[in-house]
Amino acid sequence: MNKMKKITYTLLFLLSVLMVMPATAQETLNPKRKQAIDSLALEKVRDLSKYIIIIGSKNTPWSEANRVINRAVELFMPGSEMGVSSLLRPQIAYYPVRRYFERLMRLNYSKVEIEWYKIDYVSDLRRQPDGTYVGVITIFQKFKGYNKEGQLVYQDTTKKDVTVYVKRKETQIGGQLVGFWDVLLGDMRVKETEK
């Protein structure tokens, strides 16, 4: 009887391995494709850095800044938040991304300079059970605010981490089904702030 049980369990185990194997093979991304997706996600973060510069710049016309806010918001998952820190207060505030961009547009400085650098992965894109690839990209933001006399009145450097979600999706274009990689950014968390 025990022998029968052992054989049954072994067969069940082998069957489950055989059932899982093809799915695992499909999940393995071609290294070239993986590299392209990694680059695409980094590119989206770089795009965000350009949008932030445009939104923050006092030279950007109001209509342009609003248009760019819409484009920047589209880079994020719905409900994503942006962390904001300051050397003048200890706590970190989190705002929904649209609110963050609107606040950035209205900052009480005559001139704002924002620079993002060292944009890179801290956690590689990894496949989740639902098929989404999730990774974390870190950025360094240098912020400078000037008064109307052109004097630098505030500056800081903040390290932020942003979660990136990459998922394979399909859409109809010209009657044809087109598969694409959708990159969306998640919450942007403040890790460090210094002068």
Partner: protein
Amino acid sequence: MRKQRIKTPWFVLVFFLATIIIGGLSSCNSKKKLAKEQAAIAYNTRVKQAKRDLTAMLNGTTSWTLDEQFKRLNTIKSYNIDDPQVKDLIVKVENKLNAEKAVAARKAEEERLQKEEAAKKQAELAKYNAINQRFEAIAHAGSYAEADNLINETMSIFSSPDVPVLIIIDQVDGVNDYDRPTTAIRFLNYLKDMKAYKFAVDSVKRNAEGKITELELIKK
């Protein structure tokens, strides 16, 4: 004074003649023997050389081109060498060279097709130069006003502002991987915002009026 005639005895003459004849015959025989020996030496040398050349061709240790190897093989075959090893080597080398010839022909055909494809692609890219230049100009506009003017002008080549724009991020095994699809107007504004054009037009679909109805770009 009377000349004195010396009479040679007849047997001396016979002896003399016999010596000449026998000597001549013997000389002829030794010449033939020598020639035969020389021919044998030449044949052996030819067989040895043939074996050496065939072995080198079989092992791929010769620096001859494929054509040169075929030429040498045909020369060796023309000798009709009656040696089992040479005959065996000829068959093996002939098979090897024919296989190499087939591979070379296939490779040449592949290269020809690749060149043809590259030339076709180049011609297609040249066809899209005007569109690429328009996009470059928007990306490098000096002001918002200038960029907006260029965007308005460029919109005239599209059938509508909502024309789908697909961006190929990579091509794996002949399958295109795309970024999230966008529209013509959004893409032109994206160029204005990014101040860079990092793509090239890959394909264009047009309507009866020649206006673009679908645009496919590839990341450079």
